[in-house]
Subunit: 319 residues, 2 copies
């Protein structure tokens, strides 16, 4: 009997990652192709379809049952449309689903990239065994994705999960979204660097004070912390505390069971995650705090790929 | 043919409200009995069952198909158990569902009172026609109840919806829960009165400055506002703004379609609700703000009763 596989597609501004994934979440093979977002979207999807066919051919003895696309930008899941994406500006209202299913002759489901990463961690990663999960992705921005009651959650117009733009201080730091006090304004890259800048004067001996202030990145803060730098350690701890306040809101509102934290900045590990967990619990009602934990993400960069494939399997009823 | 009816039961610390409700949300008849929480819970449920039988008898020609109980305190919905309630301290781990269904010989479903009020507004009140709704109840405390994707939402251990304890300032006013900056600390009764106290010095001519400061209640602030009192108008507006920050968090996280605001304090109407709506929209991402509105609750005190009956109908698959 042929093995059932699902294709996962992760569309970013530069590359499209494509892989064949089993129902158990195992990536059988994968590759990537350039996005070429200056060309028509239909071309990218034709090349994607061709790549999927090649992967199926290489793998042999398998049957493609469906394809899931996770894409940057805002989408309509029901209609399979990419509305728009900041880093693929020529593509507006593109029927990704229809275009790709026309090429492949299998059902295609389209979702936002932050969402499919959450579905991936839920199905095959750090969220396994839970039914109520929030994935937080720490990077330049702060992404979010929700699984509630064992189902992908998207909200009224598929735009929910914006954890990074929930606020922790209505009169706080200005966020890139134009509002004050968002979680992202504190724990996104800019927020971490602002914390560093504000701490440099009181910590003239910090390793970070010897760097070009315009070139410091969160990874430098992590490295400095590894060397015991007081300011760096303080900034990472404080970043965790800010994150924890935001998480407490999600826990109090949603009775979340597991928070999964991924993204590049999360590589700082317990220096951020431990204070985040403590602050989250301390600011949640007792019963809710007891029901909630927090763990690092497991799947790294492949969360989106396997999550997109999982979504295809989930929607097809083949799980 | 006999009319199908469901009994709604709303258990509070002093009274148990009981009514017969049609599938369309019409209350056919209702009454209340004393709770007598110092006596065994089984007695209260026996008296409740007797009252339901009497109501069915008075109504005539109707068939009781199920009963829903909304109760103060924390519950296990699946098992139909009241864990504990602050105002009914003798009752711990009481199997309300089993006890009442044993008396009535119909399915009984048990839920938290804030939740059933949300189900009531969703099914028959201000939330009709939406699938993503947050009910906020403004009073001494600030309650919350969520309908997500057309289903009652409760969370991992049936304890979600604690909107009042989501925070808007991690370093803000102390809340009765022991944390800082919760929505309730600003817009609950104590929060409103704190706003008044803090404004009195700068507003010596306020009507409120002529009252015994320990006896001012939110309703007095409303009355003063009706007379054009500057401080009172400012406090109500600011209360709406604080509420709006909290609501923006729910909107950004959940892509909520409709916020319904009820409870005694909400009687101040647009003086609170208009700034709440404006602040909610201004602090939500554009797509999310466009998808969200805010309206006053419709059902008043009967929301819990009809919501409990609706839950019984919903769970029985008879809707």
């Amino acid at each position: 009997m042929k093995q059932t596989v699902f294709a996962g597609v992760d569309v970013g501004g530069t590359f499209v990652k494509i892989g064949l994934v089993t129902k158990e979440g195992k990536i059988l093979n994968q590759t990537q192709i350039p996005t070429q977002a200056e060309r028509p979207a239909a071309e990218m999807l034709k090349r994607t379809a061709q790549t999927i066919r090649e992967l199926v051919g290489q793998q042999g003895d398998c049957e493609l049952e469906g394809t899931g696309i996770g894409t940057a930008g805002s989408v309509n899941v029901e209609k399979g449309i990419l509305y728009e994406a900041p880093n693929m500006q020529k593509w507006k209202n593109q029927p990704f689903g229809e275009m790709l299913s026309g090429e492949l002759d299998v059902p295609v489901v389209v979702d936002n990239d932050a969402n499919v990463a959450a579905w991936g961690e839920y199905a095959y990663g750090a969220g396994q065994g839970t039914k109520y999960m929030l994935l937080v992705t720490l990077g330049t921005g702060v992404g979010g994705g929700l699984v509630l009651d064992g189902r992908p959650y998207r909200g009224a117009v598929d735009a929910g999960g914006e954890f990074g733009h929930t606020l922790i201080d209505y009169n706080g730091w200005m966020c890139s979204c134009g509002c004050k006090g968002c979680v992202e304004a504190y724990v996104g890259t800019k927020g971490i660097l602002r914390q560093v800048q504000e701490g440099l004067q009181a910590n003239p001996d910090s390793i970070l004070s010897k760097m070009d202030p315009d070139k410091i990145m969160p990874v430098d803060v992590s490295h400095a912390a590894d060397q015991g730098d007081k300011l760096a350690l303080h900034v990472l701890k404080q970043t965790g505390i800010y994150l924890g306040y935001g998480l407490a809101n999600a826990v109090n509102l949603l009775n979340i069971q597991r928070v999964v934290v991924g993204g590049g900045v999360a590589k700082a590990g317990d220096r951020i995650l431990k204070p985040a967990l403590e602050t989250m619990k301390a600011n949640s009602l007792r019963v809710l705090a007891e029901a909630a934990d927090l763990v690092p993400a497991k799947l790294g960069n492949s969360a989106g790929l396997v999550g997109a494939a999982w979504l295809a399997a989930f929607e097809s009823g083949k799980l």
